[in-house]
């Protein structure tokens, strides 16, 4: 569009013109009411990121809500096309910044499928441990910030206290607290260090008690109950048509979980349950995620008890770096190391879509390879992006206060939505 003014900053008319497709209406409804368009965001504490909502209100009742996204679009999918496969991992980890292990798992899984690469059992179990820790961590951030939206500030501190412990564990195993780059194509970066297991055992012993305490704080609180129970329900059929997955779908009573339905990374070795709700209101959404924390703890416990011995990464030297000590003695190891670090590994041509169960729903990674050392296309089907479409049908004809509660219970992560 070339309609900008030639001097100084753009006038308000320019902004209006750019957004002309957004309906800004003030139509009279009946004798006494009129519709009011209210802009929420992009920077608003209750929008969980840089999300902008254009709401059409009649009094305090939301008649329509239109999410405007793209404020933190960083072109990660485009950047990934310019990087060697193993250098893509830290890039995709930064999309959904609360589920970094899931992003790297989806990407590594897709590349491993293209390579037809076997992941050693120990690496699969280590992945499960970290994925489930990440799921608990993501749910803790969700619970803390959601409670904050409902006015319960102490919940935030309690949840972040436990989250710190998980981040300490991540720091132990990979050296980083966030965006750890722990998962590699073919396995994990390093075996867990000594001292990790007792610390993790202490955490999983502690966590169910902490989750009980959260429930005691919230579920006997009249304000929380009134704001969650019966507000903004959406039935299964509508959710399925809107391609919604994850806790939102399970809250409406549909027990769809890819860990059970199409197990990957040895999830079929563990016994756990899928929490489901009944009516799909905000209370069910809260309960489902809260119950998932206990199930994740169970999975971690089983994975830690049954952790198999063996290598933590594939011994295919064409994909994984040789161990450090081999470089001093083996010429072949040195060549492999040099080729992997400079060029990366080549992946046979093909396309693959690899879905996993993220903390917010189906996280699918589509990778197309043209036979070179860089992916020709990487696409993440981010659950937050798809689930956001359910915001309007959920909050239609409810109070604006319920809009805030519903948005909190939807748990969108804008880094994942905008990518």
């Amino acid at each position: 569009m070339t309609s900008g003014s030639t001097t100084g900053s753009p006038s308000p008319e320019d902004y209006r013109k750019r957004e002309e497709s957004i309906t800004i209406s003030s139509e009279p409804v009946g004798e006494t009411h009129e519709l009011l368009t209210l802009n929420i965001g992009p920077h608003h504490p209750a929008t969980h990121g840089v999300l902008r909502l254009i709401t059409t209100l009649e009094g305090e009742i939301v008649r329509d809500v239109q999410p405007i996204i793209g404020y933190v679009h960083t072109g990660i999918e485009k950047t990934a096309e310019d990087k060697a496969y193993w250098k893509v991992i830290p890039v995709v980890e930064r999309m959904d910044y609360l589920g970094y292990y899931f992003n790297s798992m989806a990407f590594c899984g897709a590349v491993e499928t293209l390579l037809a690469l076997e992941v050693p059992p120990r690496a699969q179990y280590l992945r499960v441990i970290h994925l489930e820790l990440n799921r608990i961590m993501s749910h803790l951030v969700w619970l803390g910030t959601s409670a904050l939206d409902l006015g319960a500030i102490s919940m935030f501190w309690y949840c972040f206290r436990e989250r710190e412990k998980i981040l300490d564990l991540f720091e132990m195993s990979s050296g980083q607290r966030m965006h750890t780059r722990y998962f590699q194509v073919g396995g994990v970066m390093e075996d867990i260090p000594r001292g990790f297991e007792p610390k993790l055992r202490a955490f999983i012993k502690d966590m169910p008690t902490r989750a009980d305490q959260y429930a005691d704080l919230l579920e006997k609180n009249e304000i929380v109950l009134q704001r969650l129970r019966g507000t903004c329900p959406l039935d299964q059929e509508t959710l399925l048509k809107l391609s919604v997955t994850g806790p939102l779908l399970r809250a409406a009573g549909h027990p769809w979980d890819l860990r059970k339905a199409a197990p990957y990374s040895s999830y079929d070795h563990f016994s756990f349950r899928i929490p489901v709700g009944t009516v799909g209101d905000n209370y069910d959404r809260y309960r489902v995620r809260h119950a998932e924390i206990y199930e994740s703890v169970k999975i971690i416990e089983q994975a830690l008890d049954g952790l198999p011995e063996g290598p933590h990464i594939t011994d295919d030297r064409k994909v994984a770096l040789p161990p450090r000590h081999e470089l001093a003695t083996s010429m072949e190891a040195l060549i492999h190391h040099f080729k992997l670090v400079t060029e990366g590994f080549r992946v046979p041509p093909g396309e693959v879509y690899y879905p996993i169960e993220g903390p917010r729903g189906e996280l699918g990674c589509f990778v197309r390879s043209d036979g070179s050392a860089k992916p020709a296309r990487v696409h993440m089907r981010d659950p937050s992006f798809v689930n956001l479409q359910a915001a309007a049908p959920m909050v239609k004809d409810s109070y604006i206060a319920d809009l805030i509660a519903t948005l909190a219970m939807m748990d969108p992560v804008l880094g994942g939505i905008d990518r």
Partner: protein, 169 residues
């Protein structure tokens, strides 16, 4: 996943309903893909939906530069009862990148179709709100295309706003 035989059977079934609809099948790494004629995407998805693939898991674009037709749109369909996935792929040329929208069948295709339009320039006929979703509304070009350069776009500050992309004219 349907196996290779299952994929051929499905393809034949769809060909019986509309002889022109299926251009080919690909079975790679255990994943089944149907290559469909761009003009019959809507019909094929409707038939697959009634066959049980009623959940649209993902919809995304892909640029096959320098192959022709360049742009591909992939529909990842899922049958939740038999836990079965099938990919439907349609390829269109860049000079007339048009496909029928499937929002009427799958309301969840709304945002993904807008994203494909934004990133690749594929126009979905019948979409209720066909405009950019991630890039600014006044953005020119479709950045996810393979011939779109990476980098080189200046960071916008007040002092260089006049010289910025789309303003210099």
């Amino acid at each position: 996943m349907p196996d290779a035989t299952g994929l051929e059977l499905t393809a034949q079934e769809l060909r019986d309903a509309d002889a022109e609809s299926i251009l080919g099948t690909v079975f790679h790494r255990g994943q089944a893909t149907l290559l469909v004629n761009p003009s019959s995407v809507h019909g094929v998805l409707e038939r697959l939906q009634s066959k049980g693939y009623s959940f649209l898991a993902s919809l995304h674009g892909c640029d096959y530069y320098p192959e022709e037709p360049r742009l591909g749109v992939l529909y990842e369909l899922l049958d939740m009862d038999s836990v079965d996935r099938i990919t439907v792929k349609a390829r269109v040329h860049t000079d007339a990148p048009r496909l029928a929208s499937v929002v009427d069948m799958f309301p969840g295709a709304d945002f993904p179709e807008r994203e494909v339009f934004d990133m690749f320039g594929v126009v979905f006929d019948g979409h209720p709100d066909m405009r950019r979703i991630l890039m600014p509304e006044d953005y020119e070009g479709h950045p996810q295309r393979r011939d779109f350069p990476i980098g080189g776009e200046p960071v916008l500050f007040t002092y260089n706003e006049e010289r910025s992309y789309g303003k210099w004219q």
